[in-house]
């Protein structure tokens, strides 16, 4: 037993040195991207598995971005599917109606980006009620927003109305999903470990105190909502071009609930948690598919048990070292160095 423990600690130490290297992430991302391109070109992973990986990536984007609002800022938004819908429709309309058939592959990133920007603009609008409303009341506002998006889409015939929109080519490939997933994780981590991210956290802790400590809470809320909805829109665009068909019902409150489950399963205010939550939930749902209707009994039951035994989710309020910038890990070193330079400061 003790030898097992020693081995574990040795492994942990190696892991810490490995993740302490500045090059860990660049190498990981390049290798991951290369792998995805290889899979896409040579197809040595079967298509079903590829599709699951694509969904895993999309769900990671959705979960990480929602965690910014629900975990880091401590609000309760249930409108994430609405932002996703905006992104999905904007991107699909562009690829189906505006882009020339020959250049679809080339212009695809632009369509996704436009979807993200469209959703970000809507997110900006939703940020405005958040200046005055908090907690349950903001949840109602976002719920209403989600319903508005759905009914607006159902009533515009130009986008297919309740029948939905089709005609998208299958443009969402594994390398693109990997790229956007890595980008969203990186950007949101950057935001969290910045002045504005600390502002987001301080709003969760005590909004009045944060305002009195010179935090521009309106600015911070706008940034959080815009960034979060931007990536929800990106995920929506990718989703639409993976499924090649969208209709308004796909983006109702149930979709939001799915994302909420992944956030709370993985743990609030944690990027590693969001990734773990999205991966586990997506893969488990696939694995349990043979259970048929019993899947919908087993999954919620698992959630109930998780909430009882781990109320804050798997990684709640904790962060893996891997996702903490080296700069933040080395503050302690910085401080010790300071003490050495000026030993009288501690006396």
């Amino acid at each position: 037993m003790s030898s097992f423990k020693a081995a574990y600690h040795a492994l942990l130490a190696h892991w810490h040195t490995l993740t302490g290297y500045k090059l860990f992430w660049p190498v990981f991302i390049i290798a991951g991207l290369a792998f995805c391109v290889a899979v896409d070109t040579y197809g040595f992973v079967d298509l079903y598995l590829q599709l699951i990986l694509i969904y895993v990536g999309i769900n990671i984007i959705l979960t990480v971005s929602l965690n910014l609002i629900n975990g880091y800022m401590g609000e309760f938004s249930v409108g994430h599917a609405g932002f996703m819908a905006v992104g999905a429709y904007v991107a699909s309309l562009l690829t189906v109606h505006s882009f020339p058939a020959g250049a679809q592959n080339l212009l695809f990133p632009l369509a996704i980006l436009a979807g993200g920007l469209g959703a970000a603009f809507v997110g900006f609008l939703v940020a405005i009620p958040s200046f005055k409303t908090r907690g349950d009341y903001l949840a109602i506002v976002t719920l209403a927003f989600c319903m508005i998006v759905k009914s607006v889409l159902e009533n515009i015939d130009a986008v297919g109305g309740p029948r939905g929109l089709l005609g998208m080519e299958k443009l969402t490939t594994l390398p693109w999903v990997f790229f956007w997933t890595a980008l969203s994780v990186w950007v949101i981590r950057n935001l969290v470990y910045s002045n504005f991210g600390r502002g987001v956290l301080s709003i969760r802790e005590d909004e009045i105190a944060s305002d009195l400590m010179s935090v521009n809470t309106r600015q911070v809320k706008i940034i959080a909502f815009v960034v979060s909805s931007f990536f929800a829109g990106i995920a929506g665009g990718l989703f639409a071009h993976a499924l090649q068909f969208i209709n308004p019902r796909m983006f109702d409150i149930l979709k939001s609930t799915d994302i909420l489950i992944m956030v709370y399963l993985g743990g609030i205010a944690s990027i590693s948690g969001s990734i773990i939550g999205a991966v586990i939930y997506t893969i488990l749902l696939e694995i349990l598919r043979p259970l048929g209707i019993w899947r919908m009994v087993f999954m919620p039951l698992m959630l109930v048990l998780l909430m009882i035994y781990r109320p804050r989710g798997i990684m709640g309020m904790k962060e893996a070292r891997l996702f903490t910038p080296l700069r933040d890990l080395t503050t302690e070193k910085l401080w010790r160095q300071k003490k050495k330079e000026a030993p009288d400061a501690s006396a």
Binding site: N195, S210, V215, T331, W335, S346
Partner: protein
């Protein structure tokens, strides 16, 4: 010229007059105490100054700039910082982050630079972290920089709250019952501590307090509130013998 000048300040909560016709001025480097029985409107005055409430009538001027109508973070950036009666730290965040958040208004990079970690981001983060660590070292809480704020002892939490307020680089510091929950020994230490802060950071201080020992010991001037009205202003020695104050605080004296 007074640092802060409040004239005819009146504030009502649905008919209840919390503060009425409050006039007050404070010169730079003064240390003034605001005292009064519970519910006298002391904290309301602080909330009005810092913009948590918007005054219904009257004006508050910091170096001739009108503060009524500004948001709390704007007022804080102009140089007014405060602590709270019931400690309001960011409990789940580290001690270091508590202080770094108070530097929000001093950071020069834009949201775009923060999202991509480019441009001025790295240099600014380093500058802020260094500043925050220095401040923590001055307050002797740097040993717990990575500790969560909620894990600090009560006394250290009070100290951290003052450090956090000073991180906003104020010219005027508002302390709301800094001695709450302290024993007589700690109060004596706190008196020295407040004097030391005033000299080290050259701030003007307004203090709300119930502990007479503290107020009489360090304040140069006192303002007494009762039911929102100013019933006395003057030197501590004058206030001590003011019959109106005694009445408000202790009730009408009965010969025994």
């Amino acid at each position: 010229m007074p640092l802060l000048e409040i004239s005819k300040l009146t504030h009502r909560f649905a008919g209840l007059c919390a503060v009425s016709d409050f006039n007050f001025a404070i010169e730079p480097h003064e240390l003034v105490g605001v005292i009064g029985p519970n519910g006298a409107g002391k904290t309301t005055v602080f909330n009005l100054i810092t913009g948590v409430y918007r005054a219904s009538i009257g004006s508050i001027k910091l170096q001739n700039q009108e503060l009524v109508g500004l948001t709390p973070h704007q007022i804080t950036s102009l140089g007014i910082a405060r602590t709270f009666q019931n400690i309001r730290l960011f409990k789940e965040l580290s001690v270091l982050d508590n202080v770094r958040i108070a530097h929000y208004g001093q950071i020069a990079y834009t949201p775009a630079e923060a999202l991509l970690h480019i441009g001025r981001f790295r240099a600014e983060e380093k500058r802020i972290t260094n500043k925050a660590l220095d401040l923590l070292a001055i307050f002797k809480i740097d040993e717990s920089a990575n500790e969560k704020a909620k894990n600090l002892s009560y006394g250290l939490q009070r100290r951290l709250e003052i450090a956090r307020a000073l991180a906003t680089e104020p010219s005027l510091l508002l302390l709301d019952e800094p001695a709450a929950g302290m024993n007589p020994n700690e109060i004596i230490q706190l008196m020295e501590f407040i004097q030391w802060i005033r000299q080290t950071f050259s701030v003007t201080i307004i203090l709300i307090e119930h502990q007479m020992r503290l107020v009489m010991g360090i304040c140069e001037r006192l303002v007494v509130l009762d039911f929102g009205a100013t019933i006395a202003q003057g030197l501590p020695s004058e206030i001590q013998n003011n019959p109106k104050v005694m009445e408000a605080y202790l009730g009408v004296e009965v010969a025994s």
